[in-house]
Amino acid sequence: MKLTWNPPPIPRQIVARYTYHADYAAEVHEGAYYLNGSRGMARPWTDVAIAENDLPLLLLRAYSGGDIRAAFLVMVFQLADAFTEILDSYDWGVTGSTEKQYRPGMPTWQTITDSGELRDSLEVTIHE
């Protein structure tokens, strides 16, 4: 990545960790193979959110010449909102599991079906 601005010195390392505590979070995000032979397709909502958002630009917009830490935190929670938005409304355009997957005309999973448990299980922790 090429920086087009001179960032201020960052006083110490700061890390944001996003954790989804719902039991089935990994199955939805990564897909899964089941004992009965069926298959759950991967719907990696965090990857999509990261790909669709320009994180350096978000940081730059949040940084007004003052506090880089505060700008980082703004960016972190904007990304969390982006995760939720993708979870709620992204059209995956993928077909169902097993043989239906590659058959044209079969119903598609338009969005992740979620009671809210997965979305609401997100915990953002800041380590510094």
Binding site: E30, A32, Y33, Y34, P44, D47, I50, A51, Q101, Y102
Partner: protein, 136 residues
């Protein structure tokens, strides 16, 4: 100088000899290693390897391939067979780790719904594929 993106046949050329000692066969008798799409044949009993393109276009994590090792059809009520298959599963994971130092691993818990499964996300270095690459 630009390199071609490694094709699935290149990856198969690496994985087939690496994993053959540990793999079973699909129900139709073919060795249980498969590049999707099209979707893999019906699983047999034992270790299977399913290869797919990863979501490179969507992701900043530039891994190109996902390789799933899945232990299908092996029940814990036959302890001898179960242990033998788990051993092959572990050996296959070790072989993959040894062959691909640059990788991401995704592990899932073994539950009553999910058989043992292990995913490698691979970014293949040119050194693995040099004899097969075309340079321009």
């Amino acid at each position: 100088m630009s390199e071609q993106i490694p094709e699935s046949l290149d990856l198969m050329a690496i994985l087939r000899p690496l994993l053959t000692p540990y793999l079973t066969t699909f129900e139709d008798g073919r060795l249980a290693i498969w590049v999707e799409p099209p979707i893999a044949p019906k699983a047999g009993s034992g270790l299977h390897c399913i290869i797919q393109r990863h979501y490179v276009a969507l992701s900043n994590t530039a891994y190109q391939w996902q390789v799933d090792l899945v232990l299908h059809g092996v029940q814990a009520d036959d302890p001898v067979l179960y242990e033998a298959n788990l051993k092959k599963f572990n050996q296959a994971i070790a072989a993959m780790r040894s062959k691909f130092p640059k990788r991401r691993e995704i592990r899932r818990p073994f539950t009553e719904d999910l058989p043992p499964q292990f995913r490698f996300l691979l970014w293949l270095e040119a050194t693995y594929l040099k004899p097969m690459l075309i340079y321009s």
